[in-house]
């Protein structure tokens, strides 16, 4: 821990007010989302607590608002603040899981391709090339569609969240695989790896203990930058109506619903989730940018 605070990373962190601010914002977003069940003033999923009478309450500062609902309510009388917190929870959950999924997949396949070389390498990289040709959002749409078609609706609704995670995750692995493969190729020929091989360590443990640590920092950068993309991809899918199930509205779902009320004066139903989404993605992207620069000092 002490080593961390003494590191260059921490140093460059403390030197950048923008980064510190975005880290703070990201932290608040994540904390607010994770702790939503504890912190949120209402539980928007508890149908029994919804009062249609309270629908369309404007934010508290607009005069007609109600202190119980600081950011107002939507068309069902759901508290917007709570809905946003729970929505961010879903968005972040999908984003993180999708990134973890594509990172794991990409790193493993990249290591394999780079370390084993030969036919494995050729096949894996060819697949990655082909997939990179297609925009990830389309891949996600496709995967989502295939699963939707293959499974009965009731089953699908229960696993919809996983489907979205899988769809977004699967559409991003080639980036990781390519980076890791490149670094692995470099590391593989270094003396210490050769030496490890000579003393008879298994390829698996060589990769794990020697190659992996060296490729982690570019992977971390890509992962952070990808988190923003994953959250946006989920929002876009949900906006198109094929994302997470409506029973677990994400920020994208909230925006889609609120969009109907944009012109009618109930702007808060769409603007607040929109702002929350932008702030969240922006802070994550700022962190990613900083991380890339900090771990890549030559670029500075």
């Amino acid at each position: 821990m002490k080593a961390f605070f003494d590191s260059d990373l921490w140093w460059s962190f403390t030197r950048s007010p923008v980064t510190m601010l975005s880290a703070l914002v990201a932290f608040i977003c994540i904390a607010g989302a994770v702790l939503a069940p504890v912190l949120a003033p209402h539980n928007p999923f508890d149908l029994a607590s919804l009062q249609l009478m309270d629908a369309f309450k404007p934010p508290v500062w607009s005069g007609e608002g109600d202190a119980t609902y600081p950011l107002g309510t939507d068309d069902q009388g759901r508290d917007m603040l709570s809905a946003i917190m729970y929505g961010a929870r879903v968005s972040l959950l999908v984003g993180f899981c999708a990134v973890i999924f594509s990172t794991t997949l990409g790193v493993v396949l990249g290591l394999l391709a780079g370390y084993l070389g030969g036919r494995t390498d050729a096949v894996l990289m060819r697949i990655a090339d082909i997939q990179l040709t297609f925009p990830s959002i389309l891949v996600a749409l496709l995967v989502d569609g295939v699963v939707r078609a293959a499974l009965p609706r009731e089953v699908h609704d229960q696993i919809a969240l996983f489907v979205v995670i899988f769809a977004i995750g699967i559409s991003n692995w080639p980036q990781f695989a390519r980076t890791v493969r490149g670094s692995t190729l470099v590391e593989r020929n270094k003396e210490y790896v050769q030496a490890a091989r000579v003393i008879g360590l298994s390829p698996l443990s060589i990769m794990r203990s020697h190659v992996l640590p060296n490729v982690m920092s570019p992977v971390l950068v890509i992962a952070t930058l990808n988190l923003g993309f994953a959250i946006l991809a989920e929002a876009t899918l949900s906006f198109l109506g094929v994302g997470v199930p409506p029973t677990q509205p994400s920020l994208g779902t909230l925006i889609r619903i609120g969009n109907d009320f944009l012109f009618s004066g109930e702007w808060w139903i769409t603007i607040f989730p929109g702002v929350a989404l932008i702030v969240m993605v922006l802070s994550v992207n700022l962190l990613g940018d900083w991380l890339r620069d900090a771990l890549n000092p030559k670029l500075r």
Binding site: A48, L50, L52, D157, S264, E266
Partner: protein
């Protein structure tokens, strides 16, 4: 080259603007999916085709019957109706309208590929008596045949034969039919051009037989440009910015704004469409529920409990923004057979609902899944959400399963549902249409219970429906009244409300509001 094209285009625009054109630019969320008059019985097609085609019997502004292509009609025998046709009527492409065309059109609507079977289900055949007289023979006495025929458009026999379109368009055929994109009617407007999903242009048919009749209070529109705009927000934005003159389905939440805006106004009226919750009353064990071995919905106390748990006024006020007519019965007053005394709701009473549930053996409620469409009726998904919350509050933990029209219909048509919301319109404006489709025991007979996916079955109800089919006069009205009472007592549905249809338009447009949501531009005036 490009510059010249640009100039030509500009010049053309200028010319178009200079002519004494009275254009209505009209938008709705859906585009008609065919121009064939007997292929698709859906509102989006009819709203377009009724400008172009006429039926034997027309409807006036209040949807009452009035002479159309037929000047008069009489039931000469119980199963034979005689129609005297209007003379001197020509189709848009010049053919004379005669009895042969009527026989042809009726026969065409009877083809298996027709989607208009429900309007001609009792017809056995049509016979030309002379050039301007037609007899229609029914299989059994059909007192409401004229109501049905008001929905069957008349085509030209020779034109259809020339274009190989003697059957309604069959979407299964590999080739495309002429009638999908082209029309040849007798109506007030001609189809000038059509790009599906983009734009459909109608121009005034100056030879239309109705223009001469001053009693019609005809309008002055010379051109109608229809553009489908699916997105609610975009449709409203287009109306507000003046790119569109007339919007048939403005979103409810924007009505206030449209009312207040200087250049737009909103015309409201009731629609002949009733929303209700239908329930599976026949299965021994309910699907998608946690109740084992029993079907709570087969118990009328549970149905009443669900009924009384719904705060319909809150839905009316908040979800529908006042744009609904709360009801306790199956259809609105425009429909023949409506009885005001039977249009009474069970009161909203949560305590009573809980008591009824306990009485029926469900003191802790149960779990249930409500199937709902999300793009079919006005605010359908929101209504279902509100109802789900209300039921959950009395202990019936409701999961909402909302989906687009296509999978929703597919699901309920598989009987794969335990409780669902449906909206039902009555094009014939007669009670039988609703009772027969929605509440008759499904027994294989044509038309009986075809939309009764809760498989409600009540011998008493079936007997009353049978009487509606055959009897006439007061006896028939009495049967409808009894059926309505039974509907109230047995709660096969939980009625919610009749939809209101607001039409929004630029202030310089005036048009009569139609309760079937089908505008007639021949009555529209542009100032």
């Amino acid at each position: 080259m490009i510059r010249r094209l640009f100039l030509v285009a500009a010049a053309m625009l200028a010319v178009a603007g200079a002519a004494e054109a009275r254009t209505v630019r009209w938008a709705a969320s859906g585009d008609p999916n065919t121009m064939d008059p007997h292929s698709q019985n859906v509102g989006t097609v009819t709203m377009m085709l009724q400008q172009v085609y006429d039926a034997l019997i027309g409807r006036n502004r209040q949807l009452g019957l009035e002479p159309g292509l037929a000047l008069s009609w009489t039931q000469v025998e119980p199963t034979r109706w005689r129609f005297v046709l209007r003379q001197g009527v020509k189709f848009h492409e010049g053919e004379d309208f005669t009895a042969e065309d009527v026989v042809f059109s009726i026969t065409r609507a009877l083809q298996p590929t027709s989607n208009f079977g429900i309007f001609v289900d009792t017809i056995d055949r049509a016979e030309a008596v002379d050039r301007h007289t037609v007899d229609i023979v029914t299989k059994s006495p059909d007192p409401i045949l004229p109501n049905k025929l008001a929905s069957v458009f008349m085509m030209s026999k020779s034109w259809s034969e020339r274009h190989n379109a003697t059957r309604p368009q069959n979407t299964r055929q590999r080739e495309e039919m002429h009638t999908v994109r082209s029309t040849n009617g007798t109506g007030a407007y001609r189809l000038q051009s059509r790009e599906p999903d983009v734009r459909t242009v109608l121009v005034r048919n100056n030879d239309w037989w109705g223009w001469a009749d001053a009693a019609n209070n005809n309008g002055n529109v010379t051109e109608v440009v229809f553009r489908p705009i699916a997105s609610d927000a975009t449709r409203v934005a287009a109306l507000l910015s003046g790119e569109i003159d007339f919007v048939m389905d403005p979103p409810l939440q924007d009505l206030n704004r449209l009312r207040q805006a200087a250049n737009t106004r909103v015309l409201e009226g009731p629609e002949v469409r009733t929303l209700f919750i239908a329930m599976d009353t026949s299965r021994d064990e309910l699907l998608y529920s946690d109740v084992r071995g029993r079907n709570p919905l087969s118990d009328v106390r549970v149905r009443r409990a669900l009924y009384q748990a719904i705060d319909i006024q809150a839905i009316h006020r908040t979800t529908m923004r006042g744009q609904s007519v709360v009801t306790g019965t199956l259809f609105p007053e425009q429909v023949n057979g409506y009885v005001r005394e039977e249009d009474v709701r069970l009161p909203y009473d949560q305590a009573r609902a809980r008591a009824l549930l306990a009485e029926a053996g469900y003191p802790n409620g149960f779990e249930i899944t409500l199937d709902c469409s999300n793009n079919r009726y006005i605010n359908d998904e929101q209504i279902c959400q509100a109802i789900a919350a209300m039921w959950t509050r009395v202990g019936v933990r409701t999961r909402l399963n909302s989906m687009p029209l296509a999978p929703f219909f597919a699901k309920i048509q598989r009987d794969d549902t335990s409780i669902y919301m449906l909206g039902w319109g009555v094009p014939t404006l007669d009670a039988l249409y609703s009772f027969q489709s929605l509440l008759a025991t499904r027994n294989g007979a044509q038309g009986d219970g075809i939309w009764n996916y809760g498989r409600y079955s009540n011998g008493q109800m079936d007997a009353l429906i049978q009487r509606m089919k055959t009897e006439t006069g007061d006896a028939r009205q009495a049967a409808i009244r009894d059926a309505l009472r039974l509907y109230r007592e047995d709660v096969p549905h939980i009625p919610l409300h009749h939809q209101m249809i607001p039409w929004a338009m630029r202030s310089n447009i005036s048009t009569p509001h139609m309760a079937n949501n089908q505008p007639f531009f021949r009555w529209t005036t542009v100032n």
